[in-house]
Every structure is written in structure tokens, then in C-alpha cells.
Symmetry: D2
Amino acid sequence: MTASVAFIGLGVMGYPMAGHLANGGYTVTVYNRTTEKAKRWAEQYSGRWAATPAEAAQNADIVFACVGNDDDLRAVTLGEHGAFATMKPGSIFVDHTTTSATVAKELAAVAAKINVAFLDAPVSGGQAGAENGALTVMLGGEQAAYEAIGPALNCFAKMHRLLGPVGAGQTAKMVNQICIAGVVQGLAEALHFATHNGLDANAVVDVISKGAAQSWQMENRAHTMVEGQFDFGFAVDWMRKDLGIVLDQAKASGCHLPLTALVDQFYSQVQSMGGGRWDTSSLIALLNRQN
Amino acid sequence: MTASVAFIGLGVMGYPMAGHLANGGYTVTVYNRTTEKAKRWAEQYSGRWAATPAEAAQNADIVFACVGNDDDLRAVTLGEHGAFATMKPGSIFVDHTTTSATVAKELAAVAAKINVAFLDAPVSGGQAGAENGALTVMLGGEQAAYEAIGPALNCFAKMHRLLGPVGAGQTAKMVNQICIAGVVQGLAEALHFATHNGLDANAVVDVISKGAAQSWQMENRAHTMVEGQFDFGFAVDWMRKDLGIVLDQAKASGCHLPLTALVDQFYSQVQSMGGGRWDTSSLIALLNRQN
Amino acid sequence: MTASVAFIGLGVMGYPMAGHLANGGYTVTVYNRTTEKAKRWAEQYSGRWAATPAEAAQNADIVFACVGNDDDLRAVTLGEHGAFATMKPGSIFVDHTTTSATVAKELAAVAAKINVAFLDAPVSGGQAGAENGALTVMLGGEQAAYEAIGPALNCFAKMHRLLGPVGAGQTAKMVNQICIAGVVQGLAEALHFATHNGLDANAVVDVISKGAAQSWQMENRAHTMVEGQFDFGFAVDWMRKDLGIVLDQAKASGCHLPLTALVDQFYSQVQSMGGGRWDTSSLIALLNRQN
Amino acid sequence: MTASVAFIGLGVMGYPMAGHLANGGYTVTVYNRTTEKAKRWAEQYSGRWAATPAEAAQNADIVFACVGNDDDLRAVTLGEHGAFATMKPGSIFVDHTTTSATVAKELAAVAAKINVAFLDAPVSGGQAGAENGALTVMLGGEQAAYEAIGPALNCFAKMHRLLGPVGAGQTAKMVNQICIAGVVQGLAEALHFATHNGLDANAVVDVISKGAAQSWQMENRAHTMVEGQFDFGFAVDWMRKDLGIVLDQAKASGCHLPLTALVDQFYSQVQSMGGGRWDTSSLIALLNRQN
Ligand SMILES: NC(=O)C1=CN([C@@H]2O[C@H](COP(=O)(O)OP(=O)(O)OC[C@H]3O[C@@H](n4cnc5c(N)ncnc54)[C@H](OP(=O)(O)O)[C@@H]3O)[C@@H](O)[C@H]2O)C=CC1
Ligand SMILES: NC(=O)C1=CN([C@@H]2O[C@H](COP(=O)(O)OP(=O)(O)OC[C@H]3O[C@@H](n4cnc5c(N)ncnc54)[C@H](OP(=O)(O)O)[C@@H]3O)[C@@H](O)[C@H]2O)C=CC1
Ligand SMILES: NC(=O)C1=CN([C@@H]2O[C@H](COP(=O)(O)OP(=O)(O)OC[C@H]3O[C@@H](n4cnc5c(N)ncnc54)[C@H](OP(=O)(O)O)[C@@H]3O)[C@@H](O)[C@H]2O)C=CC1
């Protein structure tokens, strides 16, 4: 007997993730705020769609969500017609949204009262990773629940790992974003400097990407940064949302993130340039502008 | 007939580099300011040592140098008993020191007058790379000279490339160091944050090093950073020397490096903590201190 | 006939402010969460105390508040037994707490429904200003309400001004805190540099405080900064609360505050040193530490 | 008998300073690289001009200089036809240029050999201060020499003070510039924030300039910053020269100046916008740009 699952939020990430679950043999019922997308998905994957999260969730063994932010997640779980209204005892809620650890803990507490396990499970790998089923999933929650959803995660993830109690997945994702802020700003300054000093930046990158300066961003973004192409990838607006969460948690936990705080302000300047939807590598545009 | 070469500066880097040349069949005459080290080298590699750079250089087809900084390089080339006093027309001077591009251009101009080709050729890969013959060499200068020394470079480098006219090698090395400044500070903040928020930082690194946050530093330094071990690697004092060169060239060329300038000041604080000889990954020590 | 007023929150600031109103001839009823302080105040100033904000506010023409943060303010206004439960139509609520502009607008909207005018009125001048009746008050709200409370403000303020609609007072206070962040960090670096370079920092300050480097902080804090004395003044914990509000509003309004964001992180480091209650001038302690 | 003095460098600052000396009764011989300016000065003040620094200095009791930077100062003292070639034993050299402390110490040592006293004496107060005879002078050197030139300084300074041995004047000037960097960036962020949030920035400044956020820059530059007027005052190019000196000395003395280093990079961005000759308050232009 195949498990019945629900998927809430068919955005850039959720749509293909739900698709991989359907292709993997799961009986999937989807919910999306904009119904049109849910219908299209149901047609494409021969699945079902529901008019509310509550309806989608009601017979599901696992309910997945991948929506926008903390408030969006509260809406689809606790709101009127939210998933928690109908989830059955013993079922599991898996949140793939990037949110604060606070909301994860808050919802896990509510879920516990109705005997539902909650796993925070933010992903990395971007649109391409979602489409190719090659995401990385960082999880927080109980081991038993994690093991139960392992086969489902395998449908769209090349790597997943339980990193601690509820909130640990979100906190790990924050660690990921902090690293990226430093790497990208450093790379942006380096390429700005290379170009202004007459080097063939691409040639230099080929050489230095063999050593201690190497990074995923260097291998995957340096060439487009040199070209000034940013119309793809992980949007600055999303990055600012994530860094906002990071800086709040840093404050609450007594951590100091001087570079992250500074880069967050630089991203604010990218937004003012009209780059809210540009890839995070667009930090270089600030350095290169002349007026 | 094997080529005769000289090697000036038998420090952490130069000693093994000169050794690889000897092992590769070159007739090597070394010079080192502290003679004791030159004698030891000559014994170990059955080579010769000279009392001055001029003496070491006088019959050499190629003269290599790897000393400390701009002034040191001027001393061993232009100084009394410097290599330029005796180098023969048609020979090649290869500088492996990390210096400014300015001194490279200055020395190349002097060398040209005595018909000596000058190549700036800073390296990356550290002590281990030098010992294992696995350095990366970034070069600036003339194509013909570069081609002529290629076989010699192969003795200690796994990768080398001509990146432009004289100075291009040094400028490329600066690009490398700018990248590292950003990567390391970002990683330091990320690991500081992970630990303070109760995560197993090593486990998180295992997961996120598969994606967009990945870097050489993450793969090779995160674990020691978490342990607070810094007694190895590329020293903060060297890094500050290099970042000083970077910031000077940025100013001269109208580039803006806000992150690099800031991280340079953080390294100044590491020096005040007594960390001048620590690895560059010691930036995390600043974030973790409590008093 | 003298006006009847209420004062909610008898902390470091509120206690003497309420006292000046009593001394100025107002009939004052105070409320404080910790009742002991309210009783002490009532005795000292021959005033009255109430057990709840609602009770204190019920016959008042003006209700003043000076509590801790946004949530505290919501508690004493909207909470059970909050002031809004009993305030009479035509009365005025004046908030001297430093809060977000958001909460000011939110409460003004609620107050409007019960025909109560709301003025946000954060102060500067510190404990000394409150005790000496020499505060500066920055206000947001309606002109008529502002004029009505002018005589009362004169009891404890040497300067007050209406700067725009509701929220304008809080936003002006944020402008104030941003300026301070820059001034203090610059001054801290300057004095750290002066001392490390063998100057008599106090003598230098005497000279440069006549020109373009002059600031209130230089005239009032440089000497104690040089001594390393921080057990007075405006606490780092309060400053971080305020800068958190600033950075949130900057984000919401598309402003970029790189220096402010960075200094906020430095204050986080002061907190880790145990300096949460130190004066904001303690930023210099970070620069001076050696371990 | 009135003293004979020489003045080298008739720029924006030197021209009126030399004029005040002439008006004060000194017999002044001027030198300027561009002779035209020297002739004009001699005519305007009925003084004398010389074709070289050596010629100007040869009978002088005091030789003043106010040229551009370290190298310029070396040129007019040590260079061929430099002042040190002819200065008489027992005379005094007073340098009003803003330079490094290093060059001050270097020249003082050379001067000592010819029995000339050297005082480093950078000024603040800008063009207006020079024209109105209201400069502040920060001095380093011997007490006796300082006392001997006091009456001359009074011609153009409203305040002067000996702050320590040679170099102390320059170091004090650096302290001044560090303060300004912090004040101006903080003020720029504050005004950017005020305007973007709908406040009347001038009104806010009027209010907050009575308290802890007050600064000379706020009182003298806020209004022009709000207007975006920068075509006056102390040029960004000069500020970058000065901050370069500051950061070099910080490095040499083991000081940490994170904010100063960062603001220096922001000034680099102002230069790229074409603002090299704008007043230092132009940092706000970076925050306000939208493209
Ligand atoms: N260590 C590393 O991991 C890396 C270093 N580099 C760069 O390589 C260069 C050398 O580094 P490293 O080998 O570690 O340094 P060391 O300090 O170990 O060696 C420096 C060498 O230069 C000689 N030297 C210094 N000054 C003079 C002088 N004025 N006259 C003559 N000889 C002089 C020293 O002689 P003596 O023995 O007498 O002191 C010694 O042989 C530096 O520019 C460094 O930035 C680049 C990549 C990695
Ligand atoms: N201190 C200063 O120099 C300056 C302070 N400010 C601002 O003024 C405000 C007050 O500061 P300050 O007086 O120093 O603070 P204190 O901590 O001394 O006093 C805070 C007051 O608020 C009361 N309070 C806090 N939370 C609640 C709540 N939830 N319900 C009821 N009462 C509550 C406290 O009651 P209890 O006595 O029971 O704890 C106390 O009376 C803050 O917003 C601060 O940022 C502005 C300028 C200068
Ligand atoms: N302007 C200001 O507001 C302030 C300036 N300062 C400092 O004062 C100094 C002078 O500034 P300012 O008067 O504005 O500068 P200007 O550029 O107006 O004048 C510079 C003067 O130096 C002369 N000069 C420059 N280089 C040489 C050289 N190599 N040989 C001979 N003469 C030379 C110039 O001669 P020529 O006429 O031939 O070009 C000119 O007389 C600087 O160090 C500056 O940082 C300090 C406080 C305020």
C-alpha cells in the first residue's frame, strides 16, 4: 500500500518536489493558494488537488509544506482551514520552507498536542536542485519521524540528514546562508579588482579555483558575475529574508556576525538598484557602478 | 646538458622548492641569508651553496627567488652582491615571493636593461604544496620566458599559467587573497553561530559542503576552526602583508574592497591576541572570545 | 483647575519625570508593575498610585507612559487592565518609551476608535536629563494634541517639538541613535589609536574638540573612555534594543545603514564581555582588549 | 627688529597663512612651485618671492611649509634647492602639511644634523580657517622651538598646542580624521534614513543637535547633505590621503580601526562617482543613489 501524502505550496520549489513524490509512487494531494497552479499540477502528474490545506491534509500520512515565510507557514497550518485542523494522529508534518527556528518550535509544540510529529526541513540546491531531484535537506525533529519520511525525501533529495531537535534544520540552513554571504562578497570584490586591474578574470578563476580560494560560488558564478548577468538563481529578496532570520537568531543567542550584517546592508543597496530578483551574486554590481 | 639554476631564499617555501628542482635533475646553487640553512640544503640535496645572491646567480640560466616582501626582493636583486649584478644576458629571473605588482614592474624594467627576462610568479598551496611539489603558480611576463621555464616549474607545481604582462602574476595572487578573506570570515561567523546555537558544527558542515556554501576552506579548515586549532597553515602575519599590498593596489586602481578592508582590521585584532603566527582561519577566535 | 494626569512606568526615566509633573502642579496618579516603587513615589511626591494602568488612567486628561519596549507598551495599553480600557473620550495618551514607529501607528489607530489622541514622544537626555527636567522630546501626532500637552512637557523638558504625524517622534529618535552609533565608534577608534601611539589623549581631545571632529560624545565621554569607565550612562542593552528597531525600519523602508549594522554587531560583542549595562561609549573596550 | 620668515607652498591653505604673517609684521619671503602664484602673493602683500625653497629659506629665522604630501615635503626640504640646503643654524622649520609621522621624524633627524629645529604642525579649520586666521594647530617637537614660534602662529591660529615630541602633531591630526570618518558616516546614514522615512530632516537636526547625537558636522553639514551640495569644504581626495596615512600608522602600531577602514573604502566609491573634489560629507551620496 502506497502512502498518501499532501503537498502545500506549489512554487518554484514545491511544484517539482511534489512532482517527484508523485513520480515516486506516492498518492499526492496538492494545495496551492492560487488554485490555477494546483489544477495544472494535478493534470500534469495525474494527482489530486484540494481547495484548502485542511482538505489536502485530511487523510495524509505525511504533509509537506514549502511556502514563503514564517507568517505564510502559520497561515497554512494554524489558520482557518489550516492543515493542523485535519491532520490525523500519528501523521507527520514536514516543513521545507526556510523560516525561523522559533516558528518551527512553536508549531512543533502545537502539533504535539494533536499527536502529529513536526520536522523542520529547509532545503538547498535551488530551482535546479528541485527540478532534478537533487536537493540537500537539513532536518530537525525526532529520529523516528525522520526515518519514516526517508523514502519520501529520497524522491527529490540527493542528501538529507537529521541534525538535532526541532529547529536544528532551520539553524543549519542559516549557517549555510552566512557562509554564502561571506563567499559572495569576497568573490565580488576579487572579480571587481581583477577586472579593474586588467586581468582576464575568467583565466584567473581557472587558476585559483584549484586552491585555498576555491568555492562553489567561484566555480558556478564567477563567469556570470564578470558578465554582469544576474537574471537567474537565488533572489536577493529571498536572501534578505533569510539574513533577517539569521540576524534575529544571532541577537537572541548572543552571536556576533559583523560581516553578515554588513553584507545584508549591501543587499539592501542591490534592492535599491532594482535587483531584488537578481541572483545573490549581484553584489558585484554595487562595486562596479560608476555613478 | 642540464640547465644551471640558482635559488635565493630557503624559507618554508623555498627550501623544498629548490629541493624539487635538484631532484628534477637541475644543477642548483642556493643562497640563503642565514648560511646555515644553505649548507644544510646543499648537503641534503648534493647541491652547491653560495655566499651571496650575486655568486649564486652568476652562471645560472634561471634564477629563482622566494624571500619575504618587496624590500627583501629589492635587496637580493638590486642590493650590493644582488643577483642582477652577475646575471648573464638571456637568463631569466623568476620571483616566487608574494610582492606588490609595482616592485615586479620596477625590477622587470631594470632587468630588461641587462637583457634579463623577469617573471613574477607567486605561488599558492602553502607549505604542504611546496613539500609535495603541488603548488599553483600564477605568472606575469613574456610568453617566451614563461615557456622556457615551464619544465622547471613542473618540478614543484601541479598547475602554472601565464596570466598577462609583468605584474599579472602578483595581481592574480591578490585576487586569490581577497577571495580567502571573504570565505574565511563568512565561515568563521557561520561556525560561531552554529556552535552557539547548539548544533554539531561538523555534522552541519558535512551536509552544507555539498552545495552553494561549499568552499575549500570549509572542507579543509572547518573542523580545526571548531576545535580552535590554528598552529599550522598560512600565518596571519603573512596574510596582513598580502592584504596590505592588495589595499594599496586597490587604492591606486580605483577599486573598492569594503569587506577586505574590514577583515584586514579583524586580522589586526588576531595579531593583538598573539595570533600573528596562527593560520588565517583564526578569525573565529575573535568571535568566540568572551572577555 | 489643574489637570489630572496618569503616569505609567516609574523606571529610571519615568520616576523623575512623573515627579516633575507633580512638582509642576499636576494631580498625578502613577502605576508601576512593581507596586513598591509606585508607593514610594506616591509618598515622596504626595501623589496617588493605582493598582493597574486602567485604574490610573480612568479620570486622566493625559496619560503618560515610559515603559521598556513595544510589547511592554502593548501590555499597559491593550492588555487586560490596560489604560485604553478606561481612558475617557477627548483625553490624550503620550508615550515616552522608545519603541518602533509601527507600534505607535498601531496604537494610535486603536486609540482613535475610542476618541483618544495618541502622541509618540520618545526622549533623549538620559537619567540626568530626566532628573534635572532637561529632556528633549521628539513628537509625532496631531498638532492640537501636541499643543494641549505643551505645558505638561515643559515640566521635564528643555526642548520639545512636533515632527510629523504619529510615528515621527520614534523615527526622529532612531535618527538620533544612528548618529550616536557612528560618533561613538569613530571616537573609540580615535582614542584607541591616540593612546597606542603615545599621545596624551585628553590633551588631544582638548585641541580637536574646537573643530570639525567635535561632538557631544567627545566632550562628555572621551575622558571616561580613556579611563575605561563605563558604569553609568545609556546602557548597551538599551542601545541594542533601539538599533534593532532602527534596522527593522531601515529594511522596511529600503534604507541602507552599513555602519549602523556593523556597530550593532560590535555592541553584541560588548554584551559578551559582560557590558550589557555599560554606557554606549564602551565600544572602546573591544579595541583595547589584548586577549 | 622683526623676524625674517619664509613660507613654502601657496596653496589654498598656505597662501592666506603667509598673508597673515605679512600682515602681522613679519618679513616674509615666499616660494611656490608655480611661480605665478608667488608673484601674485608678493604683490598683494608687498612681500618677496624666491625661485627655490633654498633661496627663500636662506636668511630666515623660521621656515614654514604647507605643501601636499610626504613626497612633496621631502622635495622642498631635501631635494635639490631644498630648504635644508640653506637654513641657518638655530633656525626653525615648521611643517603645516598633513603628512605621516614617519616623514616628520625622518626630517627632524636630518634637520638636527644642521642644527635646525623641526616642528610638525598640521592644521585644522579648512580654507575658511586659513583665510580668517582661525586655524587650530597641533604640534610635535621641542618646547623651546614651540615657544619661539608662538607669536607667529598667533597670526593665523586661534588655538595651538604642543602635544609631544616630533610626530605628535601629525598623530593628533590623524586622531582628528578618524573621528570625522565616524561622525560623517553616521550622520550620512541618519539623514538618508530620515529623508526616506518622510521626516523633515532639517527639523529633526534642529532638535537632536541639542543632545548626545550632536556634532560639529551635524551643525555645519547636515543641511547641505540633505540638499546634496558638496562643492565646497575638505575634499574627499585629501581625506583619502589622510586616511591612508592613518591606516598605515595603525598597522605599524598594532591598532585596529574597522570603521575607519570601511569608511575609507566608501570614500573610494565617492571618488568613482566623480566626487574626488567634493566635501567629505558626500558619503550620503552613496546611500541615496538608486541605480
Ligand atoms: N608560507 C606559506 O604558506 C606561503 C608563503 N608565500 C609567500 O612566499 C614568500 C616566502 O614565504 P616563506 O617561505 O613562508 O617565508 P620564510 O620566512 O620561511 O622564508 C623567507 C626567506 O626569505 C629570506 N629573506 C627574507 N628577507 C631577506 C633579505 N632581506 N635578504 C635575503 N634573504 C631574505 C629568508 O632568509 P633567512 O633564512 O636568513 O631568514 C628566508 O630564506 C612570502 O612572500 C610569502 O608571502 C606564498 C604562499 C604560501
Ligand atoms: N535610561 C535612559 O538613559 C534612557 C531611556 N530611554 C527609553 O525609555 C524607556 C524606559 O527606560 P528606563 O526608564 O531607563 O527603563 P527601566 O528599566 O528603568 O524602567 C522600565 C519601566 O517600565 C516598566 N515596565 C517594563 N515592562 C513592563 C510591562 N510589561 N508592564 C508594565 N510595566 C512594565 C517597569 O516596571 P518595573 O518597575 O515593574 O520593572 C519600569 O517601570 C525605554 O524605552 C528606554 O529605551 C530613552 C532615553 C534615555
Ligand atoms: N584644504 C583644506 O581644507 C585643508 C588642507 N590641509 C592640508 O594642507 C596641505 C595643503 O593643502 P591645500 O593648501 O589645500 O593644497 P593645494 O593643493 O591648494 O596646495 C598645495 C601646495 O603645495 C605645493 N606643492 C605640492 N607639491 C609640491 C612639490 N612637490 N614641490 C613644491 N611644491 C609643491 C603646490 O604648489 P603649486 O601651486 O605649484 O601646485 C601648492 O602650493 C595638505 O597636506 C592638506 O592635506 C589641512 C587642513 C585643511
